[in-house]
Symmetry: C2
Subunit: 259 residues, 2 copies
């Protein structure tokens, strides 16, 4: 038993919080789907040389920020999405913490820290992903400057370890959707067509699905409800619209399957 006489196990070389002021940040991978392409929000990071012409740095980074002192992780992530888009009540999912001592070690990242007068210290980040509906994609994104949508599968050469964070967010999203398919409807409008849903699956998992089997599958799910309404203004046979019912979803999610 640990008694009042035993002092806690703080080892000499540990010195928690004394050698280094840790920084805690939140980074958020914000996903959107425009019925064609999965996109994410990135911010530009540009550093011009002394002559004002050379671009010493010109790359992209995830929207992220320092955590406030009395803010919990979820609230921090919400704040970031809200800063970018003005939106509240967005689905947010913490998926991993990143904290390698070497995550800020690339030359351009050190240069950037020097530029913004930051001590090169240890920066932890709690990574979230977030899913926006198409009408939310077209928001101005002007609450933070230099934010734009970029096609997920084409981004490269990001700042820090943000490439890795994005890749892991996609893996986490894919896994989550397999287990909780309701998530995917956060990327679709309230009323969507069968091929929008199919296209979204194909885009997320980078696969080709058989349309007939997909229709059959979806129609067998009672929580995806066919509306009495069809597509408008399309130059082909208009398809039925569907909606996702979270009530019916909750009901049908009682059954389980294990091994």
């Amino acid at each position: 038993m640990e008694t009042v006489k035993r002092k806690p196990q703080v080892k000499a070389k540990e010195k928690p919080g004394q050698d280094i002021n840790y920084h805690m940040t939140i980074d958020c991978v914000i996903y959107g789907y425009d019925s064609k392409t999965l996109k994410i929000v990135l911010l530009e990071r540009v550093l011009l040389g002394k002559d004002g012409k050379d671009m010493l740095i010109n790359d992209l980074k995830l929207p992220g920020n320092h955590l406030y002192n009395h803010e919990d992780f979820d609230a921090g992530a919400k704040r970031i999405v809200n800063d970018l888009t003005g939106l509240n009540n967005i689905e947010l999912h913490q998926f991993k913490a990143f904290g390698s001592p070497h995550r800020i070690s690339k030359r351009k990242d050190l240069l950037w820290f020097q530029h913004i007068n930051y001590p090169v210290t240890r920066v932890f980040t709690i990574a979230y992903y977030s899913l926006l509906r198409p009408h939310q994609i077209h928001l101005p994104l002007n609450r933070i400057e230099h934010a734009r949508w970029y096609p997920l599968y084409k981004v490269k050469n990001l700042a820090y370890d943000h490439q890795q964070i994005i890749e892991e967010s996609l893996e986490a999203l894919r896994t989550k959707i397999k287990l909780q398919p309701d998530l995917i409807f956060n990327l679709l409008p309230a009323k969507f067509s069968m091929s929008q849903l199919l296209g979204l699956y194909e885009e997320i998992y980078k696969i080709k699905l058989d349309r007939r089997n997909f229709y059959k599958k979806i129609n067998s799910l009672d929580y995806i409800v066919q509306l009495n309404e069809k597509q408008q203004d399309v130059s082909h046979k208009p398809g039925w619209l569907y909606m996702f019912s979270s009530d019916l979803y909750e009901q049908s999610m009682r059954a389980v399957n294990i091994i």
Copy 2:
């Protein structure tokens, strides 16, 4: 574009790392299975009153520690398991970060911080779970004092938010095993019987499985290999022993299923 003239978006009330020295810790839920019960390692936390008789605090906490300044999360988790057991090469899985400003606010936790002369500050923890084989369960655990095995489903009234951390670790473990069933074999000896495996599934998911269907299922998995060997010293018909082949597992994990 963000240029050299724009200073970064550090807001006044934010003051990263200046108002508060953050502490970063790792906590680890270490699981073991003794062919009956799922168990986890906990440490006793006892604080005696001035008369040396009253126990002001007498509860349990997860093994955890501060992260070293130049250590990444995975290494920190490994170190904790190693400190406890002397073991290396243990499977470790980061599953969530906990950082609510209120996670140290219960009366007994504040009392404890006062006792160990800690500033009540903000403590983040990166939570891991870890799976030990039965022969590893019986290690002395004497590298850190006051560590004992406790039945998972009976622990309560833990320190800090450790009850919640344990619950979420179990959820994460359950989910992970559904997707990557190889994990479960880390809780079994290298040679195990069919009913050990069945019992482990039943214990993890708290369900009852049909033995005939389970045998059929397991026998259909080619990565679980029947050995030419039976149980010894059991007072009933001895069962066949099996082993898990990670090579065959890797091969069979190419196929996918999505919706």
